[in-house]
Assembly symmetry: C2
Homo-oligomer: 145 residues x 2
DNA sequence: CTATCATACCACTGGAATAGTAGGAATACA
DNA sequence: TGTATTCCTACTATTCCAGTGGTATGATAG
């Protein structure tokens, strides 16, 4: 039950951008270098966040991306669900998929529902600002994304 | 982030067997029929549970599988980890994989560690007996696996 | 004692999803 | 005109998932 690279990198990109000065555009090249990922692969992940309205972009020379809102206004849950599609541990819990005919007699469904709630409660309770703060505190002055 | 059919079916097989009379061997054919899965596919999943010592088998005519212990002695976490390999949401958290060089400076690792704990605490807090009991209560007399 | 049947057990395969790579067009600015 | 960027589309290698065909084993009927 793994989160794919889409979700993992998306979160790291968001934290990276959250750590930059507010309002300035950061080129993907810089993010990719700091995060140890290729620009080309990030270019495939960023649009998911962009289309969701989480990022503003600027093309051309000296362009790049920046957050649309302050870091405290993004929950990690929103970011992961945007990149991954859904965090539900089984398809039966996704809105489009709950047509399973065993639904009423399934002996494991209540368990999965509980797991789903535990996961979503956790990820929705953490914001980008929380991540950034904890991590600055942990790294002291010499923090670097 | 989905649990695969291995984990899902493994859990259903265990609950199914837990609902049978204690000590008797139940053929996979019966389990497969009740669960709406092919025998062939279950035959691929069962060995994982068998090798872990969770099940006892008996070959030949009138053979089958039964639980090794009482239902209350199996946590859902143990069953899922046996079938799935690991429930960690990212590979960095698996014992064999924590050689990532970004480990000390990773801004998201604490978040993933927390998610891992939330997930494992939940699944380790539920036993087969719990599932069976809740589900009998929910279905009344006419429960059927 | 032998044939038969029901069962657990083992090995293999096709297809889908993941994780990238690559080329190039559009855009903004100097 | 040149350069640095976002943006779009296609391609590929690999791994994982789901499912199938065939073999070994044990009980039992004749």
């Amino acid at each position: 039950m793994k989160i794919s690279t889409k979700g993992r990198y998306a979160l790291r990109v968001m934290v990276d951008l959250a750590s930059r000065e507010e309002g300035v555009y950061t080129p993907l090249r810089d993010v990719a270098e700091r995060q140890g990922v290729t620009v080309k692969y990030l270019e495939q992940i960023i649009p998911l966040l962009h289309r969701a309205g989480y990022l503003k972009s600027f093309r051309g020379n000296a362009g790049g991306y920046r957050l649309s809102k302050a870091p405290a206004n993004y929950t990690v849950g929103d970011i992961l669900r945007t990149a991954e599609g859904s965090l539900a541990p089984i398809a039966c819990l996704d809105a489009e998929e709950n047509d399973c005919e065993r639904r009423e007699i399934c002996c494991t469904l209540p368990f999965w529902t509980g797991l789903n709630k535990v996961i979503n409660d956790y990820v929705d309770g953490v914001t980008l600002a929380d991540l950034l703060e904890d991590w600055k505190a942990h790294s002291g002055d010499r923090y670097a994304i």
